[in-house]
Symmetry: C2
Subunit: 305 residues, 2 copies
């Protein structure tokens, strides 16, 4: 990726981290023992990560509004996507799910704070986004209809028929290796990863007041990027060391759960990721100023962690 | 309670159950294995219970709107309170929390469907209410600002600083029996039970467009009723059999966690519950047509299950 885009991404990521770190609804008053749950949530949120979801929301806002920079309300709304992602990671790492002790090189939230607090911290971060969006509307920082649209986007894509459905398919596939083929993996990944990325891109589009055609482009881009991302993830899970990746590798293969790596092979998987990334990029060609988002898609297929 | 009120409560409860049972967002198409999570959620929702939260929403709507019956949109919004309550029960019964195998006389959701699906079913029911409220606004059944107000009420009272804070205090108290006194139990119960009951009464008030004074009365009523309810719950946990209660009894005392029963004694606890119920009832005296809600509060102190 060219240096200019890298600098923009780095500066936007810093701004997203600042908004995440200063979320008023997560401030402790320090007065009561229940506030450990806030510490656990802030621990999980501050464990790093690429902030891809809020970044996509901010960049799609800029693309479709034509503005060089996004106003504060865009960041305030965008961090709810990272909270939703983090809630799913906390619960996903728990013993009844993937049972991973490490996340981004640090103890998982349920390991650091205990499983009960981990469960509740995930619950808290699952619900907080809706309070933030409502607070924005009640505080005059978002008109109520836009808040409702974002609430729908987030809840529908994170909930039963979105991310949760993807988690269910993942569980289901654990003991049914025979039934897992490319089509199944595409469906699972589309739900588990693609839905929240779709919500992310559409957050930016809706906040910019984009028309249906632009929203459709954001959705197509998100779905292709999401699938490319998952395919590369599966490859890195086999070919990287835990140190490079910051989380345990080989966890999927330990449980004999087939992934894109198993079904397409390393070369085939990377070729497929490149094809999807290129299609995602080309979907945005018609929009002036889409260079960063196009390069971002292309870079995903080449990422090393 | 007089027969007329009993008949109203019974008919409203049936209507609430019908709305819960026909929730469009929980319909399975039967096509994919992920839909087990919908089955788990419907199982948990249909396990019975008194539907107190949606009932309070409906009755406060009727009280403050002056209408004899509530329109459909009130029930559609009110069932989100039961979903939120049910999500908390599913997670509360899990091994890392209270580790209860029975709920309302039937296997707990995580026992029936496995802990991973139980976890995800709780997550699904935690998020679904916000999708329903957004769908109502987008479908023209609720104006967007009212949807935002209900979203705020529910998320703030179910989230970190509400129900979840109460769960955290409950966990915290497990190993600190010495620190548990009446004041602590009031705070814990206010958060764990009182917050969602407050949201319930205010749902009805907001849907009826009630003024600040009426909202304040709904809140006072809810907090007193919530505390009375919890105190009686603690007494019944010791004095009832599992058959009478439909769930394991003595679970609190097994873990040496002091309750209102331990701190106030049976007689003192029941006297306190009666006092709170009477205060809740008297708060509504100034509103014509509040007979049912006043009798409902008084009946809570006398309930046997």
């Amino acid at each position: 990726m060219n240096k200019e885009y890298e600098a923009v991404i780095s500066s936007e990521t810093a701004k997203i981290n600042a908004f995440l770190g200063s979320c008023a609804q997560l401030e402790s008053s320090g007065g009561s023992p229940w506030e450990t749950v806030l510490e656990a949530e802030k621990y999980a949120l501050s464990a790093g990560g690429k902030r891809i979801r809020p970044l996509l929301a901010v960049e799609f806002y800029k693309l479709f509004s034509g503005a060089d920079s996004a106003p504060d309300f865009v960041y305030e709304a965008a961090v709810t996507l990272e909270m939703t992602h983090t809630f799913s990671l906390i619960h996903d790492d728990m013993p009844e799910m993937d049972d991973d002790d490490l996340r981004r090189g640090k103890p998982a939230t349920h390991v650091k704070f205990g499983t009960a607090t981990g469960l509740l911290a995930g619950d808290g971060l699952a619900i907080l986004p809706y309070e933030i969006l409502a607070d924005m509307a009640l505080g005059g920082r978002l008109d109520p209809l836009t808040a409702v649209k974002l609430t729908k986007l987030l809840s529908a894509n994170a909930g039963n028929c979105g991310m949760i459905a993807g988690q269910m398919l993942d569980l289901w596939s654990e003991e049914r290796a025979d039934a897992v083929n490319g089509e199944f993996l595409r469906e699972m990944s589309g739900l588990k990863t693609g839905c929240l990325l779709t919500a992310s891109c559409l957050f930016g589009a809706v906040l910019a007041g984009a028309d249906d055609e632009r929203c459709r482009s954001a959705e197509i881009y998100a779905k292709k990027v999401g699938l490319a991302f998952q395919i590369v993830d599966d490859v890195l899970d086999v070919t990287s060391s835990p140190e490079e990746l910051g989380k345990p590798t080989g966890s999927d293969s330990d449980r004999e759960k087939p992934t894109f790596y198993d079904i397409l092979g390393e070369e085939g998987a990377l070729r497929e990721a490149e094809r999807l990334s290129a299609e995602a990029a080309s979907e945005l060609e018609k929009y002036p100023g889409s260079g960063l988002l196009r390069e971002f898609a292309l870079s995903l297929a080449k990422r090393k962690k």
